[in-house]
């Protein structure tokens, strides 16, 4: 059964504010799809509509083939939603939150308890099972909210900013967990504006800008546009940073002022990846001591920043 997400022409406004103008995308089962966009681009509104909480003004949505507007109960059985705002019932313990949520998904009491214990283990909160959910730290609440979204073993996961507030270790654990959940054939849609965070986990990306999804052609175009590469040379205290810059410029046959600097690194723009390969080859051939050679910004960030500038905009500001 295909349990992906399909959205076509989805639109929603709040009074005069057009939160979501035109969203069309698909998210495939077994893959993690990132929803990328700046603050206020309509990511959360879109998530709310997919989660069957908000009606779109127009457009079609399908969660695993179920229309969340026509059949909210059917869609809710399939989807797990983790909101960006973390509410916790005052004075209920972490375990009670999960047991109560499981019961709201029609699990019998005993099954709900077993499920809650399993999930606490899964998100590494077992030691805090008896603490009131209200006193948990932000990261712990975040993990509790993720466990809550998983309570009924949903086939589709809608995660709104799941990694914000997590420490590096929890973030790695989240990444591993998401990869595992996706490998089990689930569809995962995850939104974030921390792009480096998304980069580590997503298979596909959907870009949102001012309430619109950006067409894949534009994304592809952005990915091939001019971008900067970070070049770090072996530090040589006897020569200044300027000397390294001149060496690189000479090896690449460029002017020194074409090459930017970022702290101890140099930023060299290349038109595309083939250009970068040729550049690296030239640097190594010229005997320049290259320690690191990598895109200055991640793929997502590059595409995102590029889209931000708008169609026809020049390069990335990095």
């Amino acid at each position: 059964m295909d349990v992906g997400i399909d959205a076509a022409g989805v639109r929603r406004s709040f009074g005069a504010v057009q939160a979501v103008v035109d969203v069309t995308f698909t998210a495939a089962p077994g893959r993690v799809t990132g929803l990328v966009g700046p603050n206020g681009s309509g990511k959360t509104t879109l998530m709310l509509m997919l989660a069957s909480l908000l009606q779109p003004d127009a457009g079609q949505m399908r969660i695993g083939g179920v229309d969340p507007i026509a059949d909210p109960a059917g869609a809710r059985r399939l989807l797990g939603w983790m909101p960006d705002s973390l509410g916790a019932w005052s004075s209920l313990t972490a375990r009670e939150v999960l047991v109560a949520t499981a019961q709201l998904y029609d699990l019998p009491r005993q099954a709900a308890r077993t499920r809650a214990d399993d999930l606490l283990e899964l998100v590494d909160l077992a030691s805090l099972a008896k603490s009131p959910a209200r006193v948990l730290s932000r990261g712990q609440k975040q993990r509790l909210a993720l466990a809550r979204a998983l309570v009924h073993d949903p086939r589709v996961l809608l995660l709104d900013e799941p990694a914000s507030g997590l420490d590096p270790q929890a973030r790695i654990a989240l990444r591993v967990l998401l990869r595992r959940l996706a490998a089990e054939g689930r569809t995962i849609l995850i939104s974030s504006h921390v792009l480096s965070e998304l980069e580590e986990v997503v298979d596909d990306a959907v870009f949102m800008m001012d309430g619109r999804t950006v067409g894949t052609d534009r994304v592809a175009a952005a990915a091939t546009r001019m971008r900067s590469w970070r070049v770090r040379l072996l530090a040589d205290p006897s020569r200044g940073a300027e000397a390294g810059r001149a060496d690189v410029a000479a090896a690449l046959g460029r002017l020194s002022n074409e090459i930017g600097a970022d702290r101890r690194d140099l930023l060299v723009p290349f038109a595309d990846e083939a250009g970068a390969v040729a550049g690296l080859r030239a640097l190594v051939g010229a005997g320049v001591p290259v320690v690191e050679f990598a895109p200055a910004v991640g793929d997502l960030e590059h595409a995102f920043l590029d889209l931000r500038v708008g169609p026809g905009g020049e390069g990335s500001p990095a």
Binding site: G87, S91, L104, D106
Partner: protein
């Protein structure tokens, strides 16, 4: 309506309440006030023998007043408070239906309001024993108290679903309670006066002008040519005046919770006179149902009648108990607000109250 899910919603609400300190503080303050009233009442009613039934009805009235004052705080922020705390949407996204959420919250608020009646119960028992009242009175009044707590809980939960901000929904609940408790009194008074009808007073009396000078039919030895009372001509006078029609607006007063409480308890009359506060209030309210006469007659020429005297109990013949009319009006308000609340909380939401986020 799935009972398992409904029970879960109620459980979540009640568990939060019994674990909050404020809840016990509220119950404690409630207890202390009742204690003080009981002590004062015993001290004051000890002056005279009897009168204890008045004391009992006073205590029940006070319990009703306190419960009306406390209940909105228990229910008035049920849904918008959850929305503010971002705990509503995660519940809405589960299989629980909107009706189950709203009704679950209403039942939870009702149950927590009943805790105040449990605290008040010993006082009611003591007051009944001291008043020597029949158990029917205490049962009927307790029944009405339970229903009133439910009505306020429903109004509060309904407003919390309709109004965006918790303070305004709590305030709205208080306003409705004020409208029912005081507003009905004002509306009844003004309404009765505004809806007037004409009353014709016809009085016949001896035409004193026809009496020859020097004659006095009342005198012991009046001249024989003077006419007696019977021989004097009679003249008829008509006055029209306007009388208030309280019989057309009595149902407004019937919706008053205090009137409902008073009217629903079995009345006790001693020698035709109301014996306690409840009976007194019920008597006054039911009297308002009587249609004023459109014509009053007084005949001074005929032998004067001894005006027939009716005791208060007899005057109520032909009136109906009003409490179920009032309760019906209240239940209508409560059910209407709950239904509206369910409609406004329904997801997927079409429109949101201004200034709110769904999550």
């Amino acid at each position: 309506m799935n009972l398992h899910r409904l029970g879960t919603v109620i459980g979540i609400e009640l568990r939060q309440r019994v674990r909050s300190v404020g809840w016990y503080v509220l119950l404690g303050v409630f207890f202390v006030i009742l204690m003080a009233v009981l002590a004062l009442s015993f001290a004051s009613f000890a002056l005279a023998s009897g009168g204890n039934e008045w004391f009992f009805s006073l205590v029940i009235m006070l319990v009703l007043l306190l419960v009306l004052l406390v209940s909105p705080t228990l229910s008035g922020s049920a849904l918008n408070g959850d929305r503010d705390a971002a705990t509503l949407a995660p519940v809405q996204v589960t299989l629980v239906t909107t009706a189950e959420i709203v009704i679950g919250k209403f039942l939870a608020a009702w149950i927590s309001g009943l805790a105040f009646l449990v605290v008040a119960a010993p006082f009611l028992v003591v007051a009944t024993a001291a008043g020597g009242l029949n158990p029917g009175v205490i049962l009927a009044s307790l029944g009405i108290l339970v229903l009133e707590v439910g009505v306020v809980a429903a109004i509060g939960v309904g407003f919390s679903a309709v109004v965006a901000r918790p303070i305004f929904s709590v305030a709205s609940t208080y306003l409705v309670i004020a409208a029912l408790s005081i507003g009905t009194l004002i509306a009844f008074g003004l309404g009765g006066l505004a809806v007037r009808s004409e009353q014709v007073s016809i009085s016949r009396d001896v035409d004193w002008n026809a009496l020859p000078a020097g004659c006095d039919p009342g005198a012991v030895n009046q001249p024989s040519q003077c006419p007696t009372y019977d021989e004097l001509p009679c003249i008829e006078n008509r006055y029209t005046s306007e009388v208030p029609r309280f019989d057309r607006v009595w149902w407004i007063l019937a919706a008053n919770p205090f009137v409902i409480l008073a009217d629903a308890t079995p009345p006790t009359y001693v020698d035709g006179y109301p014996r306690d506060l409840f009976s007194q209030i019920a008597f006054s309210v039911r009297l308002a149902q009587k249609v004023p006469e459109t014509e009053t007659r007084f005949d001074g020429c005929a032998a004067p009648d001894v005006p027939s005297y009716e005791t208060p109990e007899e005057q109520l013949d032909g009136t109906v108990p009003s409490w179920f009319v009032g309760l019906f009006v209240q239940l209508l308000i409560a059910a209407g607000l709950l239904t509206w609340g369910i409609a406004r909380t329904r997801t997927p939401a079409k429109r949101l109250p201004p200034g709110t986020r769904i999550a």
